[in-house]
Symmetry: C2
């Protein structure tokens, strides 16, 4: 259990009781703290402001049925952890969502979400995409992975799946943000893919184990994809597509919005072309995406060297760092052997080292950054 | 012959002697007048500034061989007229080219170039376009024609030809700007098309009858296409395509630059996508083009009614105006019968009436503008 059990259990309870993105409850949590809100829902007392009696009663009914200790235990057994604001793994950029910030995130997979999210791009689009859309999603995702960027998507059929597969195929990092419990792969046909993502990347969601997706949960989930990442690439989207919701959320949050063009005759590109006529930047490959999202030099740690002293790295990460050879590139498999871990685990750590400024991914594999080499030579502990 | 024979013959001579777009000679003409420049080239005297002795000698050799009276007579026999700055048919927007302004334009076809150019859009692109590119060029050109806009292009294979054909197919107005003499259709395979354009629209060029196109003449010609029109639409263009020269010229001249997207995998869309990543606006149909170029409300005469009093209209134009029925739309063919002229001639006059604010083109044919109807009812001569 974590240091502050009461706050943890309160957030787990809220995760079960409150629909994702509920800004009214978010405001209560900001004003009163999660524990106080959970207590009021469980033990009664006067209704909190901003909801009807009926809705308050509904929340109380759900709170009475919630079993946060059991949720946590079951999740732990399924290899799922709960990450909440303030945790070292909490991605601080989600705080940009204000009162609509998730209560917490349920996370499956070995990598550190916070580090990964620092250098991530969303690649989203139509479920019923064309072969062209699938090709572009996979190619751009693979190119992003090859350049050391983490590909975030929604795990759906079509563009999402192609993006995840493109990243996985390039031995890259990918995160699926689901609109249901992370123990419950949706869609069913992507059970294998989502298991692979959990093994080599991360599967993340706001909803506790066992929860089902609903149409509104898909749309509300999109704000998390937009907020987690530096920018959102829309590959194919018809007018009124859910991917446009992600794009608009990204725009509101000050993230980069990008679109991949297609034939003007294709209804599945019409939504993207609409975006491109407004604010979005046209991109045709991963290099153009990186050119844009990588421009924020001041936020890109590798440009100013490591941001976390070597001695503070978790041991598993330090072992992988030690296994990167000095003067040349190495594959994730070779580094995994040197660090005596699995290749999937090595990839997860390498992307964290990338985010921290220790390692770089090139076409021929992983290398130490110049700064990391200099620090290693100097034997400086603070590097 | 026109009122000022000397100036006319001087410009015809310069049109034969000087390569299009020569800004040095353009400066001489601005500073000394065309007659004085022609005289210095023919009769000798000290070299004018800004050219080498060799180039001066070359210009003088060409001037010695020029026969402007004969050029004019041959052109007249071939149905070609010479339009120069100051003529009522001269399109004033070409003056934006500064010293690179054409000395004059050779024109074939029944319509008035100045009026047509007021409401014109360039549709240009790759010679070796895809079927998709040809389809988009034809569709957009037809849509522009249906909305009463004049389609300007370069008469080349591929996108240019498809754009001209699209406009002609919609009984619309189209202008081919050639990089050779307008009596000499280039490419040869477009001899039939260019003859049709001369019959139903206008064929225009800077070079006098008999001159051949050269690679540099194609590029220099593009500035005329850009300057004549309100905006340029690039349909398909590879990197380093000549159409991008037109687009950049349009940009420099403050015209609208538009691009039609295509698959990111198509090399023939790569140049367009590059433009769209810079300044160009993405367009997928004629409505989007008109939305953009039509925004200049203050320059669009039909919004404030006719700009030329009825009594000053040339008789041929007045007859066509009189043949437009009062309360309904009519086809060009019907109006032609009423005006006792050919359909091609009626179309030419109708587009002039459109530019002057008397007529509108709708999907179902031509109508009087509201303002024209009001003026006709009031019997006001100044309308």
């Amino acid at each position: 259990m974590q240091r502050d059990d009461g706050e943890l259990l309160a957030r787990v309870l809220l995760s079960r009781v409150v629909e994702p993105g509920d800004a009214t409850v978010g405001r209560w949590v900001r004003e009163l703290g999660a524990e106080q809100v959970a207590r009021r829902l469980r033990e009664g007392g006067p209704r909190l402001g901003g909801v009807s009696d009926k809705r308050w009663a509904g929340l109380r009914d759900r709170a009475a049925l919630a079993e946060p200790e059991r949720d946590l235990a079951l999740a732990r057994d399924a290899g799922v952890r709960f990450v909440r604001p303030g945790d070292t793994e909490w991605p601080a950029q989600l705080d940009d969502l204000g009162d609509a910030r998730p209560t917490g995130l349920w996370v499956r997979g070995g990598a550190g979400l916070r580090m990964w999210a620092l250098r991530s791009v969303a690649v989203v689009g139509a479920r019923a995409c064309t072969e062209y859309g699938a090709h572009m999603a996979a190619t751009i995702a693979a190119g992003l992975a090859e350049r050391g960027w983490v590909v975030v998507s929604g795990g759906a059929y079509g563009v999402d799946g192609a993006a995840h597969r493109g990243a996985l195929g390039a031995r890259g990092a990918t995160v699926a943000v689901l609109a249901c419990g992370v123990d419950r792969p949706y869609p069913r046909g992507h059970a294998g893919l989502i298991t692979r993502i959990a093994g080599q990347g991360l599967v993340v969601g706001e909803l506790p184990p066992g929860e089902h997706p609903t149409p509104s949960r898909f749309l509300v989930r999109n704000r998390v994809i937009a907020a987690l990442t530096r920018g959102t690439v829309v590959v194919e989207a018809a007018h009124r597509s859910g991917s446009l919701v992600t794009a608009r959320a990204a725009q509101r949050l000050g993230r980069f919005v990008m679109g991949v063009p297609g034939p003007a005759t294709s209804a599945l590109s019409a939504g993207v072309h609409g975006l491109l006529r407004e604010e979005a930047v046209l991109v045709t490959d991963a290099a153009e995406v990186v050119e844009l999202v990588g421009e924020m030099g001041e936020l890109a740690p590798e440009r100013r060297g490591p941001v976390l002293p070597h001695d503070l790295l978790p041991p598993a990460v330090r072992h992988v760092l030690a296994a990167i050879p000095g003067g040349r590139a190495a594959t994730a498999a070779e580094i995994a052997r040197g660090a005596r871990t699995t290749e999937d685990d090595a990839v997860a750590r390498l992307y964290e080292l990338r985010a921290l400024g220790y390692a770089e991914r090139h076409d021929d594999g992983w290398r130490l950054t110049r700064r990391a080499v200099i620090c290693a030579r100097a034997g400086r502990a603070e590097c």
